[in-house]
Symmetry: D2
Amino acid sequence: MLVVMQEGASEVQTEAVIKRLVDMGFTVHRSTGVRHTVLGGVGPLDDFDPATLEVLEGVKECHRIVSPYKLASRHFRPGGTIIQIGRVTIGDSHVVSMAGPCSIENEEQIDRSAEIVAQGGGQVIRGGAFKPRSSPYSFQGLGEEGLRMMRKAADRHGLLVVSEVMDHLQIPVLEEYADILQVGARNMQNFNLLRELGKARKPVLLKRGIAATIEELLLSAEYIMSGGNYEVILCERGIRTFETSTRNTMDIAAVPVLKRLTHLPVVADPSHGTGKRDYVLPMARAAVAAGADGLLVEVHPDPDRAWSDGAQTLTPQQFCDLMGQVRAVAGAVGRTA
Amino acid sequence: MLVVMQEGASEVQTEAVIKRLVDMGFTVHRSTGVRHTVLGGVGPLDDFDPATLEVLEGVKECHRIVSPYKLASRHFRPGGTIIQIGRVTIGDSHVVSMAGPCSIENEEQIDRSAEIVAQGGGQVIRGGAFKPRSSPYSFQGLGEEGLRMMRKAADRHGLLVVSEVMDHLQIPVLEEYADILQVGARNMQNFNLLRELGKARKPVLLKRGIAATIEELLLSAEYIMSGGNYEVILCERGIRTFETSTRNTMDIAAVPVLKRLTHLPVVADPSHGTGKRDYVLPMARAAVAAGADGLLVEVHPDPDRAWSDGAQTLTPQQFCDLMGQVRAVAGAVGRTA
Amino acid sequence: MLVVMQEGASEVQTEAVIKRLVDMGFTVHRSTGVRHTVLGGVGPLDDFDPATLEVLEGVKECHRIVSPYKLASRHFRPGGTIIQIGRVTIGDSHVVSMAGPCSIENEEQIDRSAEIVAQGGGQVIRGGAFKPRSSPYSFQGLGEEGLRMMRKAADRHGLLVVSEVMDHLQIPVLEEYADILQVGARNMQNFNLLRELGKARKPVLLKRGIAATIEELLLSAEYIMSGGNYEVILCERGIRTFETSTRNTMDIAAVPVLKRLTHLPVVADPSHGTGKRDYVLPMARAAVAAGADGLLVEVHPDPDRAWSDGAQTLTPQQFCDLMGQVRAVAGAVGRTA
Amino acid sequence: MLVVMQEGASEVQTEAVIKRLVDMGFTVHRSTGVRHTVLGGVGPLDDFDPATLEVLEGVKECHRIVSPYKLASRHFRPGGTIIQIGRVTIGDSHVVSMAGPCSIENEEQIDRSAEIVAQGGGQVIRGGAFKPRSSPYSFQGLGEEGLRMMRKAADRHGLLVVSEVMDHLQIPVLEEYADILQVGARNMQNFNLLRELGKARKPVLLKRGIAATIEELLLSAEYIMSGGNYEVILCERGIRTFETSTRNTMDIAAVPVLKRLTHLPVVADPSHGTGKRDYVLPMARAAVAAGADGLLVEVHPDPDRAWSDGAQTLTPQQFCDLMGQVRAVAGAVGRTA
């Protein structure tokens, strides 16, 4: 904790701040400069909110110098985390491809989707059974019945399953049918859900919220990890900005930033990142070129008739093209896909 | 639904779009212009995502012309909603004041807080028993025990109680102790929670998410209302922008915009809106001047020692000043406070 | 300058950073903690970019502790700046009202506008002669001829004149006809223009850029002041965010933040801040309630036929109502208007 | 122009809107639906502001259906624009590399920089002689003397020159020494400058403003083109968002969006886009993978001692690595670099 006193702060003010720091358990080191006095505090509270000190009389600003997350930091596991699920590894030199429809609609649709994913060379099928929809009047998902269909389709085509969990009560059913439990962007700070996922026996795919900073994403990963589940995969899927020509603004730089700050695998979702089918392919290439460990994309046998998110869903042919091009870019950066 | 075809779109493309609209149940009206053909579709699907049509060949853009919310729209109840809880009314000419600490800490703290709120002229005490905290290592709230303490303090000082519900499983306990159930910004799109609140027997205070548009806030209100609970109070509490001199950027214009779009009462939270104690007072005045029906502010007997959010929490004296000044501004705009 | 070394940074890395700081003219103070070593540097370079040190090996982060502006800081003139122009004072307890059309269109329109402003109790007429338009095909302003018309109208109705200068070559003609030279949001970082305005003999109204932080606004004021012109009025007029129900998001909190950081007068422009006529009145009240020293609003004898910005321009009747209500709110906060 | 009337708008209101459209020169087509009446207007004013109609009584919303730019639209030149300068082509299958220091500092530094760029396989040297600096106390550039030095260095190493023009008065001197005239992000809407560049005899590199939408960038290009200069190169260099781990958020999706909307070449600047040296390489790869026609990067013989922007400037070795990796990625997407 670094506290910078205002120019002209009185000795009484400085002493009062030192006393507060000591009361909070900090060891304080003072250095008096020409214009500013700076107090350095070493203490037990890493999650301390600097704003608490900034309101004290005579304080100019306050900086936290220890990251508020520990288990998620690169420092904790410098070599990086590789997650192994069956034959699939996430976080090594192979770029993993997870694909499938936005929603599971029926047996035939999900089976055909699994076939497309497998033929294209993907390893994981995605599909929503519990759907967070911004309108109460929209289709809300098939629930457990949908998961059963997807598991069957995945097994027939040799794929893993990833699917979204919207509520901690759904964890058991997801654990039964899926290999990876996905936390959607809107639930990135649903702390009850995160805490329960810390006890889950399956890896978690954690999507970045549309207004979440990279630090907040890592704090949410820390929630899960602090419960004992260290298998967290982070996902960049676009943030909300003023630009409206894409549904979100995909923060591709989050990929190298995260690779530096954390040991966890990082994947990218260009479908939600752009919201438009035609931009998915170039953004998938960009994410892999920037160092992503995997992709999450939406594909559907007939996307123009998909029950949700059709605009950002690839046709089978587009998915096949994407996989070919991603493979070429992966090769150019020394990886496989 | 309005679909604008691209300049030079072929007849085949236009016909294909018309066919799609008809398949979806729309009645289509075509008007062919010098440069663009425009298709107007009237149909049963108000929550239809325009992007679904924008990916079709030859389509330039697509606009939804019916608001995706109905029960929440001003049109539904032009005179406005007034919520009556005991002797307190929310949404009429009196500006309601809800105040109290960020977290309930102990019996004495919450009783003293209730006393401060009542003496200042507030009607409702706020205080968190279940705390959403971005770090897993932070204080998470006293739970039901805290709610019991706050109810007792409120009753002793003649106040109503508002407190946050983080999870639908907590609804029953909140209903037992609180008069108003608060949905925090991070849960504004926790649709499972919203759906269950639609069945609750108490009014809901719904906070705007930090990256939520006004339309999304109204859609979340619609979720609750579509379940049968029409007593929803909306709360502006700051959005996330590039500016860092305040914790959030308080979108004061959301107050008059909401008053125009919806019949629901609108309150403002300048504590979370600014994150700094010194800015709470001017922003409380501003919110009331802009037409807010109430305020939600943080006050604590000794904010520098509060367990959470101390930086944005008023001292008893500051709260008293705030109430006096808010009363003056309310008078200037023809209301009481 | 505070440099925080990474946990585990080597002695060689720390020494290298110290050497760099000393080479740059800093006096360095080192404090070694349990987990982090912190270096405090006192030196002559207040505009130093912290990022320059953050790329050095072993450095975790770097904070500048001296504000990069001096003349604009509250510290420089704690009592606040009052600008006197003829009988009008800006920055004292009277809230100044500047109003008029977006563009000067013709002799009759500007004279009628001046009459409306004067009758409503305004002190300054605004009107654009040189118009920054985002499309090259839009009306670009009447130029000097327009300024001549506005000066004449202002004199006839006892008003001062404020008008926008888009280019440093226009300064002389603006100085001839106007009392206050306005810098538009798009030119807030047109440094050549700012530098030349430092030599102007008239006060400058500096509008905040749509993506400018408060610190950047103050640095732009510093540009003008460092040239010798200390009469700068700052103007909050909305920033760009994800919300689209208003043209910009008016950052009302910028008013109290600026009043704390700087001694310069602060005015607000609810016309550009909202972009819609119906929201101008509540936001004008809010700005004054938050402590603004003045308002800048658009009014036109027949706004639906205005050549530009008609949507956000008040009718004469709305302006008259606004002035009455602003006067009431000003009274409630101990000022006049 | 499409005008959607409110549900329940009266016939009088609808007639009044039709009259206004006709007065403005629009031919109006009316279609009356179950809930909404929609008016389609075809007229001569493509830059018409829809907000002007949205304030009329009974109007719900208004959409412009013709793009406000023409010369810059893909439709104008479907095959795309290729700019030829000497032996260098911009906009064809070769990815052009422009690199050099932020500021020209002295003869030796710029010559050594040119050597590094040429050896790495770059085609254009960049370097600032007129520097827009947010603090008035920062180094402001060597001016014409710097340009002379850079021209000499470029000629010695067989490179073209790109440099920033801050003011229209600087156009002649830039035209004398540079091959491409750069407009910086802060000047993207300096319309006087854009208009004069429309008469320049050299290509213009137009950088996107930090808060500019893609449509606004294209309107600024239209300004230059409407003056007769069709050789405009667009540059994505990061936008301002809430995320602070990078200096700006690089909107990589702007590359494919622009390639679809316009025929002009699109380059990317990962140095300003990220602000940190370590992220330049992955983001350069990402931009090329997404389809960029070129890169603009900062490199310096000794970046830790650069006079400006050192944190985001590559070392000679890093630049050499970047060029190698960019060449590999370009190959993977069917291009050369």
